[in-house]
């Protein structure tokens, strides 16, 4: 200790001594008595069902084994979820929401009634109406309208349940994506996948419970928060895996380190951690130990589960996959493999659906058609592959974007655009679900003759979240996590299970 430090030390202890002079015996007795009283009251209150806060079915967070399999509130119809998010928001008017009246209005000025009091991301002044750039036909026994852009999907429409009048309240990508996946347009809430893995844990102790796969060359606008764990323990966040190269960075042992050596070093670290647990009894240390062990197990199993090259050729042909490339098709096949291996929630994001029509790269005529082609075959193959393996029965598949697109041609900066394109539209869009106890070949909700807003069966992102939780076996109103003194829910005070599409 230098002289200066020694002086500081002396000063500090002297100050402490002085301060203690002000604490008299009376203080001690008073504090003791009130403290005892408070403790007694606390234990008394804990004994009774204080305001009903002690829910019998509350999920216990076991920090030593946070991903252990847990039962849902009631037997769920779905054991896993695959959520296919078309980031950028695909146009419902070119895919599922057939509006013949809009063809007749093509090129005419948009009526004022549709513009008054509305805000758009890019449309200014009075835009022109834009007829659907697609031919539609009714398909399957259910007679669902679906466009030529998805020729493969038309063959499986009888497996799907369409929600044709989804309404969100965000018209920018990032907040709308957050709302769709975390129940709040602002940052900080856990995503549905995190809730699902918090509630159910993982069936396969060698794999994460919640895996995220992205394609389209970009992560979704809202960034990693759309699969974040928010205020839930961070172990529940989505694990983003890459579809080319190592699925998880640094998953392979560095050169010169064998598996045995890795195991020996993890054992040594755990031994040290065990000792400090014995000394301090901090449960977080147990959590650390279990995570080391989990990481080691995953090092073994993740590369295997994430490798699609060992799939037979006919499966590759079915999905249209090319191993080693980043593509939606590869991710779709991976999603099937992961669900087969017991992963609870697989979240796919495919970027590039933002068809504004400002250039060929975001036009309805070119890039949108190509996007459709890149997902159509793989999506259909995923549904059929799950079905033939007996997995569609217990896997809920959800397909959709974060909002819809306007029935009007976009006129960014008041100019006439060279390509067909539509602006962001929050009032009405289409999402479909399949498998996992969802009705087959139905459609719920209806939009007005130009597809601007819902006229019946309107549902919100909260309703979709409630429905997903319901299929997993949770009641969105009782599935809570206590944080900052209150019980948080994924759907806040909103949400209604869409029973109309549940089998």
């Amino acid at each position: 200790m230098t002289k200066k430090e020694l002086n500081n030390h002396r000063l500090f202890s002297e100050a402490n001594h002085e301060a203690l002079h002000f604490v008299t015996r009376r203080h001690f007795l008073k504090d003791s008595v009130t403290g005892l009283g408070a403790m007694a009251l606390g234990s008394l209150l804990a004994g009774c069902d204080w305001l009903g806060s002690k829910d019998k079915s509350a999920i216990v967070f076991d920090s030593a084994n946070p991903l252990a399999g847990k039962p849902p509130l009631f037997p769920g119809r779905a054991k896993s979820v695959i959520y296919l998010h078309m980031a950028g928001a695909p146009s419902q008017l070119e895919l599922f929401d057939y509006k013949p009246d809009l063809i007749k209005l093509d090129g005419q000025d948009c009526p004022q009634s549709l513009l008054e009091g509305k805000r758009f991301a890019f449309i200014r002044g009075v835009p022109k109406m834009l007829g659907p750039y697609a031919h539609f036909a009714q398909r399957g026994q259910s007679g669902a309208w679906i466009s030529e852009h998805l020729p493969h999907l038309t063959t499986v429409v009888d497996e799907l349940s369409f929600l044709k009048a989804v309404k969100t309240d965000q018209f920018n990508h990032a907040p709308a994506q957050l709302l769709m996946h975390t129940g709040s347009a602002r940052l900080g809430r856990p995503s549905i996948g995190a809730w699902a893995s918090y509630g159910l844990g993982t069936e396969n102790s060698n794999l994460p419970a919640f895996v995220v796969l992205t394609s389209g060359g970009r992560n979704p606008d809202a960034g990693k928060s759309v699969w974040g764990s928010g205020f839930l323990p961070s172990v529940y966040q989505g694990v983003q895996c890459r579809s080319e190269g190592d699925p998880v960075l640094f998953i392979n042992n560095p050169e010169g380190i064998s598996n045995d050596m890795r195991k020996a070093s993890i054992d040594a670290i755990n031994e040290v951690n065990q000792r400090s647990y014995k000394e301090f009894k901090d449960p977080e240390i147990l959590s650390r130990i279990s995570q080391y062990e989990m990481a080691y197990k995953m090092q073994m199993s993740v590369p295997e589960a994430m490798d699609i090259s060992d799939e037979p050729a006919y499966i590759h042909e079915m999905y249209g996959t090319h191993p080693g490339k980043e593509s939606f098709a590869n991710n779709a096949l991976l999603a099937r493999k992961l669900v087969e291996k017991g992963v609870r929630y697989v979240q796919l994001f495919d970027w590039g659906w933002d068809s504004h029509g400002t250039s060929a790269g975001d036009s309805l005529e070119i890039s949108f058609v190509n996007k459709c082609r890149s997902v159509d075959r793989a999506t259909t193959a995923l549904l059929l592959d799950l079905k033939q393996r007996g997995l569609l029965d217990e896997t809920l598949v959800v397909w959709g974007g974060e909002f819809g697109r306007t029935p009007m041609q976009e006129n960014r900066e008041g100019k006439v655009q060279a390509y067909k394109g539509r602006d962001h539209h929050a009032e009405a869009f289409t999402i479909w679900m399949a498998g996992g106890g969802i009705k087959k070949g139905t459609s719920y909700g209806e939009t007005d003759p130009v597809g601007y807003s819902a006229i019946s069966g309107q549902v919100s992102p909260y309703d979709i979240q409630s429905t997903i939780l319901n299929q997993l076996g949770f009641n969105h109103e009782t599935f809570t996590y206590e944080f900052q003194g209150r019980n948080f829910k994924l759907t806040d005070v909103y949400g209604r299970v869409i029973n109309e599409i549940i089998a």
């Binding site: 849902p72 037997p75 396969n204 009705k439």
Partner: protein, 472 residues
Amino acid sequence: MILLSLSDFIGRFHPVIVHLPIGILLLGVLLHWLSRSTRFGNLQPAVRIVLLLGAISAVISCISGWLLGRGGDYDPDILNRHRWVGIGTAVIAILYYLNYAKKTGQKLPVTLPYILSVLLLLLITFTGHLGGTLTHGEGYLTQDLFQEEETKAIKKIIPDVQQAVAYSDIIQPVLHNKCYSCHSSSKQKGKLRLDTKEFIEKGGKDGKVLVPGKSDESEVYERLLLDPLEKKHMPPKGRPQLTEAETNIIHWWINAGASFDQKVKDLPQDEKIKPVLLALQSNNIAAPSKPDVPETPVAAASAELIGKLKKAGITVIPVSAESNYLSVSFISVPLKGDSAVKLLESLAPQIVWLKLSDTKITDAAMTSVAKLTNLTRLSLDHTNITDKGVAMLQPLTRLQYFNIVATEITGNGLTALKGLQELQTIYIYQSGILKADSSLLRKTFPKAIIDTGGYQLPILEGDTSIVKKKND
């Protein structure tokens, strides 16, 4: 505001006022008994006043109750009993007071006040119970103790919706589930009953509720459409609401003439109602008509046994937080074989879902699986199980889901399970079952969906090419 009926208004106070005599008279009896002992002798003067107040409030309760009862929204039988027992209570209360206050003049036995007090207690209890039954419905008191069969939602199984009788198969179940709690034998809010044709046609306090062919004049439909926050909206706030499909069906039924005996096929159907009706059909729904978890509860499996399985790496999870039935999966331990499956035998009553997919098990393990007779879902895909193993599974009579994808099981082998009546879906992709077996299997399992898999997608031009230019 116009004063319509003061007496009805006073009647509305009955539910509040009744609590006065209950409380005061109970207090009176208590004080009366306590004041016998010398310790509480000083309470004696209070007894008289309390009993007088009790008797007066009992009379007021009777009057207000009488006025409320004239409204007639209640079950007449129970109302009648409640009315007369209530009046009896008031009479006894008065006699009790008079007797206690020695105003009766004659010499009466000293025990009489005590007899009266016990009688009064009994009457108060009985009247109170009847009153509770009137407001909350029959069986309210004990509904948490016993499961009541009647209030359970009913769901009709409709194999072909066109052959179904519109009223009894489709409309009545909706009324039963959403309306009967207030509009049937136990309660008749607004003097309306909806449980038979005659009652529905008769209508309620304000007249007819059903005008065949005119849904917009039929109160029974119009009330459903009101703003849910409005007082006249039905079902009232907080009660289970009708789904949109149910509302649409009632609209259709009324407009189609509100027939009580015609079949769906004899009624006009427009394009809008067809899918709604079709959705009611049970075979249109992939859902098992039976739940895949037994309804009868089972005793919890011992934690020690479950711990043993978990230690072996086997995933054991209850199917739900409140159920003791278990879902078991070998997904984390693909290398486990027959000896691990043997461990399951001790949990035979509890295991309902079992996943042995992609494990090293052999036919020998099926002797253990065959003992799990509560199984509803069984996955044996990607294993070496053969026909020999399948033949052992005959005791699994509750099996609904059976997955033998990528096994060597043949069509003939599968027919050994002919006796499994509950089987709903069988997945046989990449198994030893040939196309030629399909008619045999359809005959063996007429009720089950057999998924052969092997789906192929044609190669379309768009799969391999991209659009580069606008084509006008």
